[in-house]
């Protein structure tokens, strides 16, 4: 019985080594698609678009004041910060991390701009187009990533 068990272990070892070689050597390492990032970016886009559209709808009324939106900015930036941390932990993911940092920086600038007060819808439309383009860029890269096998 013993030699037979030993032979079985030998074949298992060969199989294990082959599998390791197969997975380790057959591909160039690259970032893989992350469904949580995809979903969170879409959620953040909805929240950010919603905030900007609301400011536009309330323009030149007291409802458009920054103080009415301060908590929404805080929530968006916090969720974005958590998403950046998650993406920093994912391997080969520098592009997405750089993109999320740029988006975070732009939302902070938009927040500062809101503090100074908006008066013309054209400005909000222009800024909304820019921020939308950033979200589109992040999703373009995410959707181009291969799915983990």
């Amino acid at each position: 019985m013993k030699p037979r068990a030993s032979k079985k272990n030998y074949y298992f070892s060969i199989l294990a080594i082959a599998l390791v070689l197969l997975t380790a050597c057959t591909s160039v390492n690259t970032a893989t698609y992350d469904s949580q990032t995809d979903q969170t970016v879409t959620t953040l886009q909805l929240k950010t678009d919603g905030l900007m559209s609301s400011v536009k709808a309330n323009l030149n009324t007291p409802a458009a004041a920054y103080k009415n939106y301060a908590q929404q900015y805080q929530a968006i930036l916090l969720q974005l910060h958590v998403l950046i941390t998650r993406n920093e932990a994912l391997p080969y993911n520098k592009t997405t991390v750089d993109q999320l940092n740029l988006l975070s920086s732009s939302i902070e600038k938009f927040q500062k701009r809101h503090e100074l007060g908006f008066s013309d819808a054209r400005e909000l439309i222009a800024l909304q187009q820019l921020v939308d383009a950033q979200f589109r860029s992040i999703l373009t890269v995410q959707l181009a990533k291969p799915h983990a096998s």
Binding site: C25, T26, T95, L130, A133
Partner: protein, 110 residues
């Protein structure tokens, strides 16, 4: 002061992007053009609002900084997409010769 021409601005930006991206331009063209159009229109709008004195210099600077972030995002995205496509091409090439190489040497090297 001479008015900014949106088509002229977009043309200059597209020419620069095309030169910079070289062979990757056909694949990156659609995405890059869409983003550069958004950036150009936004810059035009910010300049017009400033000229009409509807926003001051500090407000215009913050707006333009967001436009710059978006332009940088376009560059980062194109570089990232190129990297992903190159990795994918190498992996497809390796997979194409896997069976031949492995059967030739007698074990799963690839």
């Amino acid at each position: 002061m001479e008015a900014l021409n949106v088509h002229e601005l977009l043309e200059i930006m597209l020419r620069a992007a095309k030169q910079s991206l070289e062979q990757q331009w056909p694949r990156a063209q659609e995405y890059t053009e869409a983003n550069l159009k958004a950036i150009t229109h936004s810059i035009m709008e910010i300049a017009a609002l400033h000229a009409e004195q509807k926003i001051d210099a500090a407000q215009a600077k913050l707006d333009l900084d967001i436009a710059k972030d978006t332009a940088e995002m376009t560059l980062v995205t194109n570089a990232g997409l190129s990297e992903l496509m190159a990795a994918q091409a190498i992996n497809v090439a390796l997979a194409a010769v896997r069976t031949i190489v492995n059967s030739h040497i007698g074990f799963a090297l690839l």
